[in-house]
C-alpha cells in the first residue's frame, strides 16, 4: 500500500514541517507518494529538503509533479527535477530545463558531497552574488565576500559531518509575509547523521541526562563545538562565523536536526529560538536568510578590529 504525503501549496521551512509530520511515523521502506500537484511555490529550503526526504527512504518514492505550468517551470529552472529524477519515480509532465534563465536563482540546486564541490559552488555564485546582493538587495560590498564564506562553511558541514552528500541552493525572493522585502536565502540540507550523532562520535564526548538533538544543536551553533575539536582546537568556527555574518546583516539563521530546531531570530521575525520534540527527520537542514537593506536602515555594526586602533597611525609615523 502506498501512503500519500501531501505537499503544501506553499512549501517553505515552516510548512515543510507538515511533510515531516506525515513522514515521521512511516517505516523507511513504506512506499510513499509525494503529492505536489497542488503546490504553487517553494523556497530553496523546501526543494532541497524534498530531495533529502527522498534520500531518507529505502523504498524509492513516487513524486507527482506540480500541475501549474508556472510552478513546474520554475522548479525545473531551479534544477529540482534533474536531481529528483535520480531519487523519485516522477509522475506528471516535467518540462525540459533551460539553463540560466532565472535571475532569482543565484545557485541552482547543487549536490555537495566532497570538498571540490564547495569550490564549485563558491566559484559559481561569485559574480552573480555581487550583482544581486549589492545591485538588488542594496547590501554593502563587504556583504558579498562574507556571503561566499558563509556559503562555503555551510556546505562544508555536509562534507565533514553528514556522512553522505546533501544539497545546496541559493535564491532571492520577496518575503512579503513577515518582512515586506526581498531576501536572499541559502538552503543547505542533507539526510545524513545529524548534529547529535556527529558530536557523539567525538572521542571527548560526554553524554548526560539532558543530551539530545536540542543540546547538540546548542553545542554546535551557539558554543561552536565540533566532533573534531578533540584533536584540533580550531574546529567549530564555521558555524560561529555564519552566526556573526547573519547578525551583522540582520539576517536569520535556522538549523533543524533530528527532533530539534534552533534559530537566530532577528527583530523583524517572531520565530522561536529553540523548538524541541519535533517529528524526527534525518540529517541537518540549514537556512540562512539575509534581507534587503532600505534607505534609512541603521548601518551594520562595524567590526572592531583587535589589532588596529583608528587614529594612532599618523601620530606614530610622525615620531
Amino acid at each position: 500500500m502506498t501512503t500519500v504525503i501531501n505537499i503544501p501549496p506553499s512549501l517553505d521551512e515552516q510548512s515543510f514541517e507538515q511533510v515531516i509530520e506525515q513522514l515521521a511515523p512511516l517505516p523507511p521502506d513504506q512506499k510513499v507518494l509525494f503529492d505536489a500537484r497542488h503546490a504553487r511555490w517553494s523556497s530553496p529550503y523546501g526543494l532541497t529538503a524534498l530531495l533529502c526526504a527522498a534520500q531518507s527512504r529505502t523504498e524509492r518514492a513516487t513524486f507527482a509533479v506540480p500541475e501549474h505550468p508556472d510552478t513546474v517551470s520554475y522548479w525545473a529552472r531551479t534544477g529540482f527535477f534533474r536531481h529528483a529524477a535520480d531519487l523519485f519515480e516522477l509522475h506528471g509532465h516535467v518540462p525540459r530545463q533551460r539553463e540560466g534563465h532565472d535571475s532569482d536563482v543565484l545557485l541552482e540546486i547543487t549536490p555537495v558531497t566532497q570538498s571540490d564541490d564547495v569550490h564549485t559552488v563558491v566559484g559559481r555564485i561569485q559574480h552573480k552574488a555581487a550583482d544581486i546582493l549589492h545591485g538588488q538587495l542594496h547590501l554593502e560590498t563587504a556583504a558579498t565576500m562574507g556571503f561566499g564564506m558563509t556559503l562555503s562553511e555551510a556546505c562544508q558541514n555536509i562534507v565533514e559531518h553528514a556522512g553522505q552528500g546533501g544539497w545546496v541552493a541559493v535564491q532571492t525572493y520577496s518575503f512579503r509575509r513577515r518582512l515586506g522585502r526581498r531576501v536572499v536565502v541559502i538552503a543547505v540540507c542533507d539526510a545524513g547523521v545529524g548534529f547529535r550523532q556527529s558530536l557523539e562520535s567525538s572521542p571527548g564526548h560526554a553524554r548526560d541526562d539532558r543530551w539530545g538533538d536540542s543540546r547538540a544543536l546548542e553545542s554546535a551553533v551557539v558554543h561552536a563545538v565540533s566532533r573534531f575539536r578533540h584533536g584540533d582546537a580550531g574546529r567549530g568556527q564555521g558555524l560561529a562565523g555564519i552566526r556573526r555574518y547573519v547578525s551583522r546583516w540582520d539576517g536569520k539563521l535556522s538549523v533543524r536536526s533530528g527532533t530539534a530546531r534552533i534559530a537566530l531570530v532577528p527583530s523583524w521575525d517572531e520565530d522561536e529560538p529553540m523548538r524541541e520534540r519535533l517529528p524526527a527527520f534525518p540529517g541537518a537542514q540549514v537556512q540562512i536568510m539575509i534581507p534587503e537593506r532600505l534607505a534609512g536602515d541603521p548601518a551594520p555594526a562595524a567590526r572592531a578590529r583587535s589589532g588596529a586602533r583608528v587614529g594612532d597611525r599618523s601620530e606614530e609615523r610622525e615620531k
Binding site: 564547495v118 569550490h119 561566499g148 564564506m149 562544508q156 564555521g238 556573526r244
Partner: protein
C-alpha cells in the same frame, strides 16, 4: 634575508590551477604544507611576507589551516630566527583571520598600507610595549621602560614575551618589529 610568498600562486600550484578561492580545510592544509616547505628551504635569519593580495575569498576553515596553524608551528619552532608577516589582507579576509587568531589566542604582524599593525589576541600591556618598539625601534628594554614609566625588568619581560610570540625581532641593537618584503613572488 627577506622573502615573499604569494598565497594565490601557492594555491594554484599546490592544489588546483583552476581555483581562486581559499575555501575548505583540505585546500587550506595543502596550501599551508606548501608554504611550510618553502619556509623550510630558507636558512634563518629570515623574514617572510605571506601575501594575500591576489586571494579572492578566504573562509574560516582556510584561515585556520593556513594562518593559525602556520603561526602555531612557527611559535613552537624553538626560536630560530624565522619570522613571518602578512600583507594584502582585505577587510573580509581580516574577518576570517581575526576570528581564528582570537579563537587560538594568537597574533600576527600585518602590513597595512605599508605600516605594520598587530592583529589578533594581544593584551593591553603587550600592545603598549609593541607600539613603543614600532615607533622607535630598534630599542632595548630600559628605553621602553622609560617611555612607558615602568621598570626595566617588566619591559624586558614583555618584550621577550613578544619576541617569543614572533611579534618582535631581537637584533644586536635592540628589539624591532619584523617588516617584510612587499615585492614580487618568490
Amino acid at each position: 634575508m627577506m622573502h615573499h610568498i604569494d598565497v594565490s600562486r601557492v594555491l594554484r600550484g599546490a592544489v588546483c590551477e583552476l581555483y581562486s578561492n581559499l575555501v575548505t580545510r583540505p585546500t587550506g592544509a595543502a596550501v599551508r604544507t606548501a608554504i611550510e616547505l618553502l619556509l623550510a628551504e630558507r636558512n634563518p635569519p629570515t623574514i617572510t611576507t605571506i601575501d594575500f593580495s591576489h586571494v579572492n575569498l578566504l573562509d574560516f576553515s582556510c584561515a585556520d589551516e593556513i594562518v593559525a596553524k602556520l603561526l602555531l608551528r612557527h611559535v613552537d619552532a624553538d626560536l630560530d630566527d624565522r619570522y613571518v608577516c602578512f600583507r594584502g589582507m582585505r577587510e573580509d579576509h581580516l574577518d576570517a583571520v581575526e576570528a581564528v587568531l582570537e579563537h587560538r589566542a594568537l597574533a600576527l604582524v600585518w602590513d597595512r598600507d605599508g605600516w605594520p599593525e598587530l592583529l589578533g589576541h594581544v593584551d593591553a600591556d603587550e600592545r603598549r610595549h609593541w607600539d613603543v618598539v614600532r615607533a622607535g625601534g630598534p630599542v632595548w628594554a630600559p628605553s621602553v621602560a622609560r617611555t612607558l614609566g615602568n621598570t626595566t625588568a617588566d619591559a624586558e619581560l614583555r618584550l621577550t614575551q613578544l619576541w617569543r610570540r614572533r611579534l618582535l625581532m631581537r637584533q644586536d641593537n635592540g628589539f624591532v618589529v619584523p617588516r617584510g618584503a612587499s615585492g614580487v613572488a618568490a
